[in-house]
Amino acid sequence: MDGLSSGQNGPDLRVDIGSLVLANPVLTASGTFGYAREFAQLMDLHCLGGVIVKGISLHPRAGNPPPRIVETACGMLNAIGLQNVGVDRFITEKMPYLEGLRVPVVVNILGDTLDEYAEITARLAGVPGVAAIEVNISCPNVKSGGVAFGTDPAMAAAVTKAVKGRAAVPVMVKLSPNVTDITTIARAVEEAGADSLSLINTLIGMAIDLKSRRPALANVIGGLSGPAIKPVALRMVFQVARAVKIPVVGIGGIDSAEDALEFLLAGATAVQIGTANFINPRVSEEVVAGIARYVQEENLSSVRELIGAVRLG
């Protein structure tokens, strides 16, 4: 595969997320990188380990009314409301471009019911260019009173099984941090057959505008992302990586190679860059270069030596 050759000139950056082989450990996070084409003119997409596209539902979604975003200290809250074109238009309108990329494309999926998750997965099965599926389980389960799938071990396991049963490619389950003990959910999802885990999704937060005395977001609450959440994300990755045997992909406030390397040391096999794409569209390219530099400077034979290598005690 052409896209995997980029690491051969420099240090060995290849990582394996189960059977999904990446040229380097840097992916772009769902919802922060559009359908990749938006960034094509601004950076070299082929330097990425992989691209994770905007979350796809069974039917198109218009999303929430404005305002959808608000800046907070070292971060931002968003309540976009999962606006997307739906799986059918995604396949016909977005996949042809993505299929042409020499980079693994991971499709993020979401649903309101188990059946929806299963149906989207079935429609994606056999679509050329889909390297893996990432499952967003932070959505409310409409058949269980709107409790998020990802906050209950049994429901999280059920979604994982529903997707695994129909999937033709590896399945990565994206965990919600808005839980009492994320390792419990992680183990349940692993037992249900997930090939890998990615964490964390956004932390639920809120901001109030003092002039209007209204919530800053039309949706009242939203997901916090950006550097503000990095220590929380790093802690959760550390805990989950020690609780499961499947690979873990770290997400949360990463905007530099240093941040990414911390996540690898904490136990992540790869990382996703999210909010930072909004501020510097080239950031993921810079993170890949920075990781390569570190691997070289530290005389490592491979970036894989860093995974989980945090020194304790």
């Binding site: 975003i69 070292c74 931002m76 569209p281």
Partner: protein, 262 residues
């Protein structure tokens, strides 16, 4: 269309009132490609707080590679920006969005209210530059709180057309709203109206144009994180149903495309 991330050097800082500023920066790639009505995303600092870039309409570009931003201090980002020093470097990303679809050969009425003055200078200049008959200059209506915000920019606008000012405190021009000036002004036949300003002003201008049969384009403001269609944070309701995204579909719209949030 090409977009650039440029480390732009501040070459001039002007202060027009307690909270109104104009920055001139060297950003040759952006200056070379920008169209009136387009915007840039500006990083106000190097650190993680404030985190997001801020969107600004291009006030003016220069053939020497300069770009100008006209802004008011409304929050932390603009407050930091207002303290910029000559020689300092700021990251600019742009030019972004869809600008004005102007027809230089036809009469133009430009209306800028408050911060909405920003994109109008660039538009006035381009219309004037491309217009083969200099006698039919633009009509420029500028509204502000007080004289200081207008005095200097009025001189710039005067090169391109006749300027009609209005101030909230009556310190310059009409004492009252800029829309009152518009309503009292006989508009030339076949004129196009271009407006930028607060939502209420735009709604009033759009309504006036609809009633009198003048085509109207508006430049609207929105919070946004990325400015390039990735975050989907800058939506607003469209008259055709659903949402439109200011960063890609705008910031300039035909007024009829939008529902007013007033």
């Amino acid at each position: 269309m090409a977009q650039y991330q440029e480390n732009a050097t501040v070459t001039r800082v002007e202060q027009f009132s307690a909270e109104t500023f104009r920055l001139t920066l060297q950003a040759p790639q952006i200056a070379g490609d920008a169209q009136p009505g387009q915007f840039v995303m500006v990083r106000t600092g190097q650190g993680k707080d404030p985190l997001l870039r801020r969107p600004f309409s291009l006030h003016q570009t220069f053939s020497d590679g300069g770009v100008q931003l006209y802004f008011k201090v409304v929050g932390r980002g603009t407050e930091i920006l207002s303290r910029s020093l000559v020689g300092e470097r700021l990251s600019l990303f742009g030019p972004l969005g869809r600008g004005f679809r102007y027809r230089p050969e036809q009469p133009a009425v430009l209306i800028g209210g408050g911060l909405g003055i920003a994109p109008m200078l660039f538009l006035a200049r381009e219309i004037s530059r491309q217009n083969s008959s200099p006698a039919s200059g633009c009509q420029v209506l500028l509204g502000a709180r007080q004289k200081g915000e207008l005095a200097v920019v009025m001189e710039d606008f005067a090169q391109y057309g006749s300027v009609h000012p209005a101030t909230d405190d009556g310190s310059l021009g009409h004492h009252g709203l800029i829309t009152e000036v518009l309503f009292s002004l006989p508009l030339p036949a076949a004129a196009t109206v271009y407006a930028c300003g607060p939502e209420g002003m735009l709604a009033a201008v759009a309504g006036h144009c609809r009633r009198h049969g003048f085509p109207c384009q508006v430049s609207v403001e929105s919070v946004m994180a990325c400015g390039m269609g990735a975050c989907l944070g800058c939506n607003r309701p469209a008259s055709a149903g659903g949402y439109t995204h200011v960063c890609l579909d705008g910031p300039v719209y035909d007024a009829e495309e939008l529902l007013w949030m007033v």
